[in-house]
């Protein structure tokens, strides 16, 4: 090497070094990266818990997903991809799963993550001692002996999960579940560090104590104010993590949060109801409507305590037919929601709403006409008995707006009168759960990305069947679907029954409306479960 080339190489290296600092680019897309690699977003309330075993809400699971990593992750569309597990296989009978764990995975304190950590975490989540509200999720996973473990009739060691060696995990379930692998992307199945929990007890989730295996570590937590996470250098894939800091700010009031977003204090916030169209016009690249795996519907009280008229299927059909859902989603909600005529969600994995859903081939005028005829047949038409229903909802302006609009549609089309009643949340749940209502607002979000998570709620045994509906045919179809090879036709039939028999009146499928700063990239806008990972996100430099 000549002296000249040496100088050339040195200056080139120096140039690259300084250049790299000023203008780093994304390794895959080549976009220029901002120096400020932070992401700040709004949450509604303090997290009930960020302990994976205890997490019970969506916002808490977003945090747990940054601090921990489970067996499998979701990609931007919600499909499974390797997490701590690199390979997995299912036994012939579909009852035993074996996961190979990556040996390079470590906890943020440097100790290796092993199969024993998963065994401990799963046993802990199901244990009566922890008393996790999400222990039922373990039941949903159909783990061997899970019910007896939860009731305390069997020791946690009997749970159907064990470590074959440090890096091999075996899971035994009692019924084949087509969506089992999706289920292990859920936070309840994340590993937790036994050595840390045993040292600190309940205080292990405090900053300074908390140890995770995710791409981020907890650095600050002030209840009701903020939670800050910073990049974990011990994460096995830390070299590919670009965002340095993720901050969740607790802002109870969504309008206040929007003002602060406008002032640049936040990257992401929720859009208050009805404001999406206006904000989309003002910020076309920053206002987003994302699919959300939730459905909004009205429960009809079909129990003894419910109104006699609702026991007549023609009345229920007429009430459902008379609701102009297009008008509601376009004019009242105006945030990219989708009309619902059944409970099977359009965006749920592996499900398609059947083309021949009852009554959906009719125009709105035909629907109104049919509704009037049905009402008349049932003896409640013009000249018949006037009907009055009370719509019960939990106190909220949005629910009220919708109830007013629906009441008006019923009044105009059917001459049915409505009165509105609202109750504070806990009192509302009490009234609805005990069938002390006539018609009550309800919402349901999927526990896992599969149609049964929606369709199960009208089965006789469901704890959420507040309509007190019971249809043996529907129950049988859902039971059959548990073990069926091809579940789609069964689910579609259930959805048709719901549309025809109207145990509930489906109204719309939710959408999430958010403002997202346009320098933030890598957020999974396509994932209906909004499962986001800070490790895939980054901020680009502004031109």
């Amino acid at each position: 090497m000549t002296f000249r080339t040496l100088i050339g190489a040195a200056s080139l290296a120096a140039l690259l070094a300084t250049g790299a600092l000023a203008q780093a680019t994304h390794p895959v897309t080549g976009e220029p990266l901002a120096e400020n690699q932070t992401f700040t977003y709004r949450v509604l309330d303090e997290f009930p818990s960020i302990d994976p075993g205890l997490v019970e809400d969506v916002e808490g699971s977003h945090i747990a997903r940054q601090l921990f990593e489970g067996l499998l992750n979701q990609d931007a569309e919600g499909n499974i991809e390797p997490g701590v597990a690199t390979e997995w296989e299912v036994s012939e009978d579909g009852l035993t799963y074996t996961f190979r764990l990556r040996p390079e995975a470590t906890w943020s304190d440097g100790t290796p993550v092993t199969a024993h950590d998963f065994v401990y975490a799963w046993q802990r989540a199901a244990s009566p001692e922890l008393a996790s509200p999400y222990s039922w999720y373990m039941e949903l996973m159909q783990l061997e002996n899970v019910s007896e473990v939860i009731t305390g009739d069997r020791p946690v060691e009997d749970l159907g999960v064990r470590a074959l060696d440090d890096h091999t995990l075996e899971v035994r379930i009692t019924t084949p579940l087509p969506y089992f692998l999706q289920m292990v992307t859920h936070t309840t199945t994340f590993p937790v560090p036994r050595h840390v929990i045993e040292e600190h007890g309940d205080a292990w989730t405090q900053p300074g104590n908390m140890v995770g295996n995710g791409a981020y570590v907890l650095s600050e937590r002030v209840p009701q104010e903020r939670l800050v996470m910073t990049r974990n250098p011990n994460y096995w894939d830390a070299d590919n993590v670009i965002l340095e800091t993720i901050t969740a700010l607790v802002i109870n009031d969504e309008n206040q949060a929007l003002t602060r977003w406008r002032a640049g204090e936040l990257d992401q916030t929720d859009i208050p109801i009805g404001q999406y169209p206006r904000l989309l016009e003002e910020f076309p690249t920053e206002a987003h409507a994302l699919p959300n795996l939730c459905v909004y519907y009205y429960n009809l009280n079909l129990s003894e305590s419910g109104p006699e008229a609702l026991k007549d299927v023609r009345v229920r059909q007429a009430l459902s037919l008379a609701i102009d859902r297009d008008l509601l989603v376009n004019n009242v909600l105006a945030g990219g929601q989708v009309p619902a005529y059944g409970l099977g969600h359009w965006a749920v994995a592996g499900y398609e709403i059947p083309d021949d859903m009852p009554f959906t081939d009719l125009s709105m005028d035909e629907r109104r006409e049919m509704a009037r005829e049905l009402m008349e047949e049932a003896g409640f038409g013009p000249g018949g008995e006037p009907l009055t229903f009370e719509i019960l909802f939990n106190t909220s302006e949005a629910h009220q707006q919708l109830a007013v609009a629906i009441g008006q549609m019923w009044q105009q089309t059917l001459g049915v009168n409505t009165t509105l009643a609202n109750l504070e949340w806990q009192t509302f749940l009490d009234a609805r759960g005990n069938q002390q209502y006539e018609i009550a607002r309800a919402g349901w979000c999927a526990d896992y990305n599969e149609a049964s998570s929606f369709l199960d709620i009208v089965t006789t045994a469901s704890g959420y069947n507040d309509s007190a509906y019971s249809n043996p045919e529907l129950d049988r179809l859902m039971e059959e679907a548990r073990t069926a090879e091809d579940t789609l036709p069964l689910y579609q039939e259930v959805d048709r029954i719901i549309a025809r028999d109207v145990p509930v009146i489906p109204i719309y499928f939710y959408s999430t409306n958010i403002m997202m700063d346009d320098t933030i990239r890598g957020y999974p806008f396509e994932n209906a479960q909004e499962t986001w990972y800070g490790r895939t996100m980054y901020r680009i430099a502004q031109e």
Partner: protein, 307 residues
């Protein structure tokens, strides 16, 4: 005086116990429960949770255990809603926040309120009086849930001078807007009470005598009128002081300060029994304490009052 204070402190103990009993009864009378949610939990899971928190015990036993833990261990229990936190932890984190902005708001409201009230009273029916009264009425009809968003709109979004929320350990930029939003209505109330009380005192015979003696106005106001005129304000300021330092749900919600004010509302909505009890006892104890302080101040200001 000392025996009076001691007697009052002794009476405080049964008062707080009665407060605890009433709160417990009201709490359990409300429908719903801390672990009821949109999706009902399976009975086995609910049973585990209830066993963990002692909710499977009879109410009387729960109440007794609760009081016992406070008396013996000063332990206010875990939060049911925020399972990573204890009630003591939440209060230890949130109370300094509300104490900080509450004290500042108290200082601002009292000093400006008194000044405004005195100025209006001694320049009775002058432009100064109208200005002061107008300001006071304006401030009292502007509730803080209207004022707070306006302040953020103006100072955060339009001017960009101050952050729209957060606390960050109480750095001054984060304290200003909560203080202004909280102080305004108290300031107005203090000004109005001070004004009317001062006008009354200024018309009383002993002030007339002082004037007749030819004392200068300044001396009349500061030496003779101020102390008796302060009495009604003082009885307002005792509870107002407690209300300010325990924060306000509006301030905490709009400015995301992390103070304890919000727990008065959301712990009740969440049926978070231990947090409801914790903040109730805190406010109860502070109210008793500051009522006592006011009574002692009374005696100091007005020699006619003897205990």
């Amino acid at each position: 005086m000392l025996s009076f204070i001691l007697r009052r402190l002794l009476v405080a103990i049964p008062t707080i116990l009665i407060l605890i009993v009433i709160s417990f009864v009201l709490m359990f009378a409300a429908p719903g429960g801390p672990f009821n949610s949109d999706r009902p939990l399976p009975p086995a899971v609910m049973a585990n949770i209830e066993a963990r928190y002692g909710l499977d015990q009879p109410y009387v036993v729960q109440m007794f255990t609760y009081v016992k833990n406070i008396v013996l261990h000063f332990d206010f229990g875990p939060s049911f809603r925020y399972r990573d936190q204890t009630v003591s932890g939440l209060i230890a984190q949130g109370f300094p926040v509300t104490l900080t902005y509450g004290l500042w708001a108290f200082v601002v409201a009292t000093s400006l309120g008194l000044a405004l009230g005195i100025a209006a009273a001694i320049r009775h029916n002058s432009w100064l009086d109208y200005l002061a009264t107008g300001t006071a009425i304006g401030a009292s009809v502007l509730p803080n849930f209207v004022l707070a968003p306006i302040l953020v709109l103006v100072f955060t979004l339009w001017l960009g001078w101050l952050p729209g929320g957060g606390w960050y350990g109480g750095q001054w930029q984060y304290v200003v807007l909560p203080v202004v939003a909280l102080a305004t209505s108290y300031l107005a109330a203090i000004a109005r009470i001070m004004r009317s009380s001062m006008i009354e005192v200024m018309n009383s015979p002993f002030i007339r005598t002082a004037r007749a003696k030819g004392l200068p106005m300044r001396r009349i106001v500061w030496r003779h009128a101020l102390k008796p005129a302060l009495l009604p304000v003082l009885s307002y300021m005792g509870p107002a002081f407690v209300a300010m330092i325990t924060g306000s749900v509006v301030i905490d919600v709009y400015f995301s300060t992390g103070g304890i004010g919000q727990y008065f509302v959301n712990s009740a909505l969440n049926r978070d029994y231990p947090v409801i009890m914790g903040v109730t006892i805190l406010v109860g104890a502070l109210t008793i304490l500051f009522n006592l302080v006011v009574d002692v101040l009374y005696a100091w200001i007005d020699p006619k009052i003897r205990y």
